[in-house]
Symmetry: C2
Subunit: 221 residues, 2 copies
């Protein structure tokens, strides 16, 4: 379902130039559960952002279902992101002015779903991650791990085909982290492709396959 060929990513902002991805070539099958591990700064978030169509390679080619992503317009990319992908950000990216339920419902809002459907699906998703008694709170009224769970619920509410998770359990205790992994593994068993960036070996071991990043390069065991 996903394929990269000789992908490079350079951040070049004049004063700053960083080669964040070097010669990345790999593929992921539909329905696979893959973990990506590696030291801080090795390029994991940069890779996940490219996979999630949030950014483009500096060179090389990236295919989703055999369509080269670089040939797609911004609108087409946006449609793929909205319907097929669910993204859990390392920094959550919650909207401070919106409640838990409203934050979770954002992907459905962009899909033009009915308001009542959005509210019901979002509340159900909130309960699924243990936030049923926090529906009206705003992000600043939540603990770190509760904010992380809002980000997780938002990524799943539109029933995406591919779930990309950047350190999804970093602020969760081990019990809550296990509950979240059981939820993600269940979704994988239903056929969703799962790509999880994690520092935690106990989280990576749920995966079918572990890829490792080191200094902007990707290695398969």
């Amino acid at each position: 379902i996903i394929r990269m060929e000789a992908v490079n990513k350079v951040y070049d902002l004049g004063s700053v130039r960083v080669e964040a991805l070097k010669d990345i070539t790999f593929f992921i099958e539909e329905g696979e559960h893959v973990a990506i591990m590696g030291p801080s700064g090795s390029g994991k978030t940069t890779l996940l952002n490219l996979l999630g169509c949030l950014d483009r390679p500096t060179s090389g080619r990236y295919f989703i279902e055999n369509t080269e992503v670089s040939t797609l317009s911004d609108d087409a990319l946006s449609a793929i992101r909205g319907r097929r992908l669910g993204f859990i950000f390392q920094a959550y990216n919650l909207i401070p002015q919106l409640t838990v339920v409203e934050n979770i419902g954002i992907p459905l809002f962009y899909q033009g779903e009915a308001e009542r459907t959005i509210r019901e699906k979002s509340a159900e998703m909130a309960r699924l991650v243990g936030l049923g008694d926090r529906l009206s709170h705003r992000p600043t009224q939540l603990s770190g791990g509760q904010q992380q769970r809002v980000a997780i619920a938002r990524a799943l509410v539109n029933n995406p085909a591919v779930i990309l998770a950047d350190e999804p359990t970093g602020n969760l205790d081990s019990t809550t982290g296990r509950e979240i992994m059981n939820l993600l593994v269940e979704l994988n068993h239903q056929g969703k492709t799962l790509i999880i960036v994690t520092h935690d070996a106990s989280i990576a071991q749920y995966a079918h396959r572990i890829l490792r990043m080191l200094d902007a390069r990707l290695y398969e065991n």
Copy 2:
């Protein structure tokens, strides 16, 4: 050095009322290294914010070196925070417009130190946490774990007597996490009091004593 007696904290904002801390009584000796563990939402950050004088109890008494904190003016509290405390925030709270070096130097800037001293001490602190080649980057040009390390460096740059750390290794790989813990343990051996909130048992085991939070209450083994 630190003592709490029957401390309660209630968040009451009309539509929302949460009893975040219930009847908290405990003390920490000077130079101790204490870990605080507990499930997501149990009150750890709330407790640490009170310990760090960033917030006040709803009821009960909090003493720093036998002075009751509630009797102090906001200015006096601010002085304690600036000179005696170093705080590593769960969400980092970095200033987006400032570089790594400028972010780290903020506590020294508020203490009125000379600009050149600030720059030298901040650069040295950056190198100590492995960011020597990222001095001019801004937070959005850093990985998650690099941002976390800027927050750590900032908390240590003014040589505080008490270090309060909220999930200081949540976005770090195990090797970098160990390096940070070795740094903190070294500072503890030099006499600094260390209070670390963590979900990670492998981080908590560095401590002399582990306190546990559950549903807003504190338990000692």
